[in-house]
């Protein structure tokens, strides 16, 4: 595995080319790199967005994403993974999350990248608060994100009503 950490949570922005180069790091067995960059949109549910505040659960965030990467490595034949997730105040068009996956072949790279994003949406402890003209509000979880993870055979109930005790 590369010397750089697999999971980074930070306020600062990231540079895609720098992160890809760090992951490749002279590994001639890499034949495919898939990347995902999440970006803050300028509108949400029709209303103009001024800013997002991203909160997380320090320690749990890193541990949970590490566990997701371990699961991705079990499922797919990978040569390296790197995840950068930003926290704090972000504005429209700012980058918010990066997933880079290196593999010998494109199929595994594409799939693992999507798997990790689907997993992170409902299982990593981040919360978004939006600020717009009407004030600030916490973003609601979406059942479609649970459905996205279910495609991989993982049951998620993040947005669904919790089962009765």
């Amino acid at each position: 595995m590369p010397a750089s950490p697999r999971v980074v949570i930070r306020h600062e922005d990231f540079d895609l080319a720098t992160e890809v180069a760090a992951l490749r790091d002279g590994d001639g067995g890499i034949g495919a790199i898939a990347t995902f960059v999440g970006i803050v949109r300028d509108r949400h549910d029709g209303a103009a967005l001024e800013a997002l505040e991203l909160e997380h659960y320090p320690g749990m965030t890193e541990a949970s994403i590490e566990a997701m990467i371990d699961e991705a490595v079990r499922r797919f034949d990978l040569r390296g993974v790197r995840v950068v997730h930003r926290i704090g105040r972000l504005e429209p068009m700012h980058q918010i999350v990066l997933v880079v996956v290196a593999a010998a072949h494109r199929g595994e790279a594409f799939q693992a990248c999507e798997f990790l994003m689907d997993y992170m949406k409902t299982q990593a402890p981040f919360w978004k608060k939006e600020t717009g003209a009407a004030g600030s509000r916490w973003v609601d979880a979406r059942v479609t994100d649970d459905a996205a993870l279910a495609r991989w055979g993982i049951a998620a109930t993040n947005a669904a009503d919790a089962p009765a005790r």
Partner: protein, 83 residues
């Protein structure tokens, strides 16, 4: 026994970042939540059963049936909205 409780997002805004709680051995997460709700006031509002919350024990998501041991850290928070 004593457990550390941590709050995030809208729950944190209502109750602060966390507190400690004394509970009986064998208490599960649901019973801890009920004990906190029983404090009334803002606790009843922020943690009440009308709100769908998720929980974590020792930095991993857990169901409310999870049984706690002395020294555990339990987080309560709304559904996750990262990515």
């Amino acid at each position: 026994m004593k457990v550390a409780v941590r709050y995030f997002a809208s729950v944190r805004e209502a109750l602060g970042t966390g507190e400690s709680a004394q509970v009986e051995p064998g208490t599960d997460v649901a019973a801890l939540r009920d004990a906190l709700i029983a404090r009334g006031g803002r606790h009843a509002q922020a943690l009440g059963r009308q709100r769908m919350l998720r929980s974590a024990r020792n930095l991993a998501l857990c169901s409310e049936e999870t049984v706690l041991v002395d020294g555990d850290e339990v987080g309560f928070f709304p559904p996750l909205t990262g990515g």
